[in-house]
């Protein structure tokens, strides 16, 4: 792996029929680059949960995947309601998801905690009434293989 790779994907708020499409592209790209499957798995969980949050809560968003020799960077920015209390939102089991979202098996309050567990670096910025930015990194060992 030499060159830095970057690609962005649009995410439509409220459209559960296409939810997972961005995460699927992330998986495909990382596999093509040839990264170890444990890195791919972690990045896919991050991408999927961040994507589902945009679909569940925001109007629209953009996911940007950047791969460099040192790390996988996944940044998801959305236009949406924002998060009032990020610390509370990070707590396992905390969810404001609607009943029908819960019925589908989402809204267990595990998304942000799972993003955190799978990230080596995580930064969430949010402004109420404006939107949210989730920036997560998975750090790569030299040669792209986990130690």
């Amino acid at each position: 792996m030499h060159a830095v790779y970057q690609e962005s994907f649009h995410i439509e708020g409220g459209d559960f029929s296409r939810a997972g499409a961005a995460a699927s592209r992330v998986k495909q790209i990382l596999k093509e680059i040839g990264l170890d499957s444990s890195y791919v798995k972690r990045a896919v969980v991050i991408a999927y949960e961040a994507e589902i949050n945009v679909v569940s809560y925001a109007t629209r968003g953009k996911m940007t995947l950047t791969v460099s020799p040192a790390k996988i960077d996944i940044t998801v920015e959305d236009v949406g309601p924002g998060i009032e209390d990020i610390e509370l939102a990070m707590q396992e089991g905390y969810s404001t998801a609607s009943d029908w979202i819960r019925e589908m098996g989402f809204g267990a309050g595990m998304g942000l905690p799972n993003i955190k567990k799978n990230s080596d670096f995580l930064e969430i910025e949010s402004e109420v009434g404006v939107g949210t930015r989730v920036h997560a990194e998975v750090h790569l060992a030299k040669g792209g293989r986990p130690s």
Partner: protein, 117 residues
């Protein structure tokens, strides 16, 4: 073991991708929470769930799951079947509830979590 053995042994109805029953199954996971399946399932697992909407296909595909068993005779939605065909995800239906399906798979030797398969 192969998916075919599970289909035959549990008397499952195959709803999609019957041409893929040679897929090797290395474990199993039972859950109806999608985040939980994302976090805990492993490639090669067969997934037992009562969720029938199309998002289960993305979860199965993203995690390289061997297939999905719907419980309690639940029918997959039309959109779910279409997506399953596109992605090549095997969907099977059992008339029995989760507990019985999981128990039978366990008896067949399948294990979940990080135990030996």
């Amino acid at each position: 073991m192969k998916l075919r053995e599970i289909v035959e042994s549990l008397g499952l109805e195959v709803k999609c991708c019957g041409d893929r029953l040679d897929r090797e199954v290395t474990g199993a996971y039972a859950s109806d929470l999608l985040s939980d399946v994302m976090a805990k399932s492993k490639a090669g697992d067969v997934w037992i769930t009562l969720q029938t909407h199309m998002n289960i296909i993305a979860v199965a595909a993203l995690n390289d799951l061997a297939g999905i068993i719907l419980v309690n005779g639940r029918e997959p939605e039309e959109a779910t079947l279409k997506k399953a065909e596109d992605e090549g995800i095997v969907i099977m239906v059992s008339k029995e509830p989760t507990f019985e399906v999981a128990g039978k798979l366990y008896e067949m030797g399948l294990r979940g979590g990080h135990g030996a398969g």
